[in-house]
Symmetry: C3
Subunit: 158 residues, 3 copies
């Protein structure tokens, strides 16, 4: 039976999402099964910028939707963000090294069969609908996460 890695992506930071997706892609290349459970700010990574909708949202949810990142490339850095300057610097350095941007790692993970799970409670609280997210996402609750994590060889909270 193949081995499994399970990650919670709780953070909505560009650099942490990058780390998580690099691990996910590398694990798949080694034949390791990968589950990613997106909770709270992590859900912003799964937002499809083409599909954001204000329908059926309370005014709090609309306000929240307005001030929060619209997709992978809009996430801030966890450190030295300097109002976005730090991220520009990081992206320029990545380009110099021909390292692909976050979106490329996300699309790699989708192609390589990473399992994407969205946290039900977080989505309800934030007013995020399933059809605002990328297609692969399955919505599960904390118990669903635990059942997957307990059978995994590696668990990380990112």
């Amino acid at each position: 039976m193949s081995k499994k890695m399970n990650m919670i992506l709780f953070s909505g930071d560009y650099d942490k999402a990058l780390a998580a997706l690099i691990l996910a892609n590398s694990a798949r290349e080694l034949g390791i099964d990968v589950s990613m459970f997106f909770a709270f700010w992590g859900l912003f990574l799964l937002r499809d910028p083409q599909k954001i909708s204000e329908e059926n949202k309370t005014s709090y949810e609309k306000m929240f939707s307005m001030v929060s990142p619209k997709g992978p490339e809009n996430l801030p850095l966890s450190k030295m963000n300097f109002s976005g300057l730090g991220k520009i610097l990081l992206k320029e350095m990545m380009k110099d090294d021909e390292a692909p941007p976050l979106e490329a790692f996300l699309s790699g993970a989708r192609k390589k069969g990473v399992n994407f799970y969205g946290c039900k409670l977080s989505m309800e609280v934030m007013g995020l609908k399933k059809d605002e997210l990328i297609d692969e996402v399955k919505v599960i609750d904390a118990k669903g996460y635990l059942k997957d994590a307990i059978d995994s060889e590696i668990q990380l909270f990112i």
Copy 2:
């Protein structure tokens, strides 16, 4: 023998504490044993607002006690805190969805038999006394944590 989950709560953020306690409650409902080891900022979650004392504290420890959160509902958000506005927004959205606040998840975890451990070194450095914390807390050191974690199926650093 039942399975076990071990979490270090290092962060003192409202949203991360919420995530940790939701996992703890859900794990107990699945019959999984849960150990939570509170270190550094995470210890603020265990402060009993009724029992804060300035006795036997150095002046640095008093200053620290003064500027740090007084209990669960006073913790800030890890992201988009906007001087507290973001947290008000999150709590209003949670109320709309009838999701209980942090204190309710903490009291649920206490009733469901989650094991609460306080990090000895952190408490000494911060000048936090055992009797300022909720009753269930046992004080252990890093080796105590490691012995518990190494026998667990899931370990997370939050």
Copy 3:
């Protein structure tokens, strides 16, 4: 066969690095093998302040090198940093309790045979050269990390 703990140190925060190194030292004292994989901001902990060089760096890399911490004692706090005031307070409280500073825990970990790994991709992107880091560091990629982590009893993302 002895048990193993694997930690990714992604964060460049003084307090989180302290937590990771206290765990590393304690684990070694219990006879547990320890691997630490330093990625992104975590790499700043391994910078040897005596060996920082601007040679063979692009202008972006030079700018980045200039604004980033020069070694362990220059890392900021993850919370309540207050432009450095919070860290002074923490260090004074640690001194009162005769707790050694971060550098002492780092040198303890080096003496106790902790395995130090630097993330290849992070180093390339940030323009950090192997000879700017402490001697023990071996440079590996994400797959190298995964192979080490999957055989460990404990994995943490810090």
